[in-house]
Subunit: 224 residues, 2 copies
Amino acid sequence: MPDKTASTKQRILKAAGVIFGQMGFKDATIRRIAEAAQVNVAAINYHFQGKDGLYGAVLEDVFATGFSRFPATGENGVDASPEQRLRFFIRAMFYRLQSRDGWGGMAGQGRLIARELIDPSPAFEVVLDTYIKPHKDLLLDILVDIMQITPDPKKLIPCALSILGQCIYYALASTVIQKISADSAPNEDNLDQLADSVWLFSLGGIARIKDELLAPPSPTKADK
Amino acid sequence: MPDKTASTKQRILKAAGVIFGQMGFKDATIRRIAEAAQVNVAAINYHFQGKDGLYGAVLEDVFATGFSRFPATGENGVDASPEQRLRFFIRAMFYRLQSRDGWGGMAGQGRLIARELIDPSPAFEVVLDTYIKPHKDLLLDILVDIMQITPDPKKLIPCALSILGQCIYYALASTVIQKISADSAPNEDNLDQLADSVWLFSLGGIARIKDELLAPPSPTKADK
DNA sequence: GCACGATGTAAACATATGTTTTACTCTTCT
DNA sequence: AGAAGAGTAAAACATATGTTTACATCGTGC
């Protein structure tokens, strides 16, 4: 392939990521993408077989670069304490979702992932198996190591979801958080602080859930 | 106004809530809504001055009914222990977002709110002031009561966001959660369990954050 | 040198969609 | 009874958008 080819295709991919991230699938027209990429509209169909194909390619590209640039495990890997591994895991999620070097910060592709969570596209299936599920299993392993017990997975999953939920909420709701409390809205400079806040909160939550698992689940009849 | 009028208008509002919730603003065409409501397309423009007007009306209606049917405070109000008030608060969020009697469960209007968090529409501004901000302040009050200290709000907000994030994540990502771990996906029967799981997790998290606030924030230099 | 395939471009096409127009119906008040 | 106005319906309108077609351009191998 000539050089120009890769260049054009890559330019489309890059521009599409931004446009899709900013406006969502429906509002991102191929004409707008073509304009941003300085490319003819037909080129999109030529290289990606239509808008859907382009979107699928963008989604895979976004996840691939995000997870390769911000892996969920540090170099030391399993040697570190499980608490520190969780810290790294959470921090990686924040950077992946929100850093300008990651998924483009609050105006970029992070919101693309958030939209996929709500309305998964057909292209999301493969991403789910390739990235999300292993990512979830990694988190479960960390949780087991922290709790030092191996509880019923059904009891562990909500714990994992609570952690993931915090991370993703910061990314998806950043616009609203900005309006409610500008100081706490994520930006390039406070990601570490926010991630550590989530980390500490989660450590406490994990401990509490573990207590509940060990203690006889006394049926506290505090219904109201 | 005649009876038939209110009926038609109400039918449009109801049908629009479902359609908007299921497919989002862009994919929800007024023709589909008109068909679902058994109404002529022109009636929508007649009663709501266009698609945007209809969407705004739906949004306000959804929040109004949701918060009135599932208020965030119980009848006992401030008399209950702050922990139980938090429990009620979280449970109300789950029911509001996910119950079939609330915002239509996982196929219904709950996702409409999730989408607003990502891409707020103009109509969301008023909802923000009317419902979301007071709701947030209520949560902050509860947190202060639980911690029994009044820390810097800047330290308290992340704590509140962690709690809200868990609740909203369950609602918005229910489709994906279903694919990852069907047992933990929210449904009409396990809302109480999930809400209590989030509640316990949050109590632990709050305690941990409080510890951190009281203790000298020893700069743990665990950067990696 | 030249034909051929890959790549890029401009225009045309078909369709979906929000809105408006126009006419009709039905209730209500005098 | 009749006028008036609100509510409803069908069709027309204007536009935006994904896709396709026909043609131009460029590099490459024979």
